[in-house]
Amino acid sequence: MKAGYRKAIVNTNAEIASNIFEIKLSYPKDENFQGQPGQFYMLKAWEALDPFLPRPLSISNIVGDTITFLYEVKGRGTQFISKLHPGHTLELLGPLGNGFDLNIEGNIAIISGGIGIAPMIYLMKSLNKKVDFYCGFRDEAYYIDEIKGYVDSVFVSTENGSLGHKGFITDIFTPEKYDVIFTCGPLAMMEKVWSMCKGKKVYMSMENRMACGIGACLGCTIKTRYGIKRVCKEGPVFSGEEVFFYD
């Protein structure tokens, strides 16, 4: 049997860029977090019934007995999480979802947009292969140093030009060099990536509003080439051809 929601303790919770937080948690007993890159947890930082639903966050890293989530404060839920201090507890359920396919061959690129960088750290680490990392941001780049620890080539873009290429990350992405592409970010960006990579393996991490996170409510479904799929169960990782099936 899987455990339900379990309490974890906040070790650190820091704003690493404007509105972007990194939180590190561990379980009170010395148990380890489970999970593959691309999988996610549902988090509740409240005991009351408002907010009502837990919030999904991708595993950003697992090191020893500590799990890291990287998150952007969007609304009330992430705001509540951002206010937690070391020693505070929150509840989490997971790991959930399918995760990225790690059994791959060939040249690999990772392309993230904004907070889509979150699951990519753990992915890079787990691939344990040579990877080129492309990450685009709007105003402010973050997590570049973490990435550099794992890969040789990091390409950065910002829309305002504050770091790296001024513009979109897809402007400087060179698909011809790669066989496998992992991407996470705004749908429009992922669609662009996919359209640049026809014929290649494109794995993308999808988002949708979730209630249960475990596949029961059918709230998080998307239409795919192979029918209606649950982002929380058959996903969040889908292949590009599954998602962009209209052509």
Binding site: L53, C212, I214, A216, L218, G227
Partner: protein, 300 residues
């Protein structure tokens, strides 16, 4: 010793806690968290005669103390259910209730006929889904229309028949009486409330269908009132539903007159919530010296 068993229409439930339709899938996902045999029963995701893909657009939207949903009866159809889900459910040693939705009386009747030949224990007729055009909702508003569909289904149905009422009914008590007159063996209430939300940035309704269904603790006080009123007005067993997230809520519904209760949205915030509610009820019974829930059913 305490006894949590409840007998509803000759079907024995181990305890009064049933997983509510549409919030528990067909049990598979939750079976990873606890043995489904611990539950009093499971009401399946709403089944329609034919497979349905459900609604487009946003399907889930959080509100204060609850959520709006517009799933739209995505389901594998009765035959898909019988083929792919029922074999699993049959093995779980808990009461299986097939929740049936539909758009026409004919569809309801056909669906029920197909279920007659299966091992399911009971049928829960959903005449109240707000999320499908003609998705039964039309039947759930006016007592006369409900009478018609329930009568027809009753004739076709060889299983104990629970009719699930909509809180959007014009008059919940008349609706209940009408369904009982038409042959309902039991009533469950409430389904979700017709409700909505607007995205003020895009200036559009959040849901493609505009109207969605509200559930969760926010609706509990209204649902409880309806269960209270209905349980006083009819003589069949009542299953209370609406915003139950802990054993205290469950006891309130039982004291209002419910024989059993269903847990819906609560499952989303805690997959083990039903187990906690069952254990809470047991502890309450021990603490308060209640041997059988009958002692407090409708006691207020």
């Amino acid at each position: 010793m305490i006894e949590t068993k409840v007998n509803i229409c000759e079907v024995e439930f181990k305890n009064p806690v049933i997983a509510a339709s549409g919030t528990f899938g067909f049990g598979r996902e939750y079976s990873e968290y606890f043995p489904l045999s611990r539950l009093g029963g499971i009401s399946t995701k709403g089944l329609t005669l034919e497979k349905r893909e459900g609604n487009e657009g946003i399907r889930i939207y959080e509100t204060t103390g609850g959520l709006l949903n517009s799933i739209g009866l995505q389901n594998p159809g009765i035959e898909g259910f019988i083929r792919e889900e029922l074999p699993f459910l049959e093995k779980q040693d808990t009461v299986i209730i097939a929740n049936v939705g539909g758009s026409t009386i004919e569809d309801y009747v056909k669906a029920v006929e197909k279920l007659n030949e299966t091992s399911i224990d009971m049928i829960e007729l959903n005449i109240s889904c707000p999320n499908v055009k003609e998705g039964g909702m039309a039947f759930g508003i006016k007592a006369e229309t409900a009478f018609e569909v329930v009568s027809q289904v009753r004739k076709a149905c060889k299983k104990p028949l629970i009719v699930k009422l909509s809180p959007n009914a014009e008059n919940i008590v008349n609706m209940a009486k009408s369904c009982v007159m038409a042959g309902a063996d039991a009533l469950s209430l409430v389904n979700t409330f017709s409700a909505m939300a607007i995205d003020i940035k895009s200036r559009k309704p959040v849901f493609d269908n505009i109207i969605a269904g509200l559930s969760g603790p926010c609706i509990k006080p209204i649902a409880l009132r309806m269960v209270y009123e209905v349980s006083r007005a009819v003589d069949v067993p009542i299953v209370g539903i609406g915003g139950i997230t802990n054993y205290k809520d469950a006891i309130e519904f039982i004291m209002a007159g419910a024989w059993a209760i269903q847990v819906g949205s609560g499952n989303f915030i805690n997959p083990n919530i039903s187990i906690e509610i069952i254990e809470g009820i047991e502890k309450f019974m021990l603490d308060e010296g209640i041997k059988n829930l009958e002692e407090i059913r409708g006691i207020i």
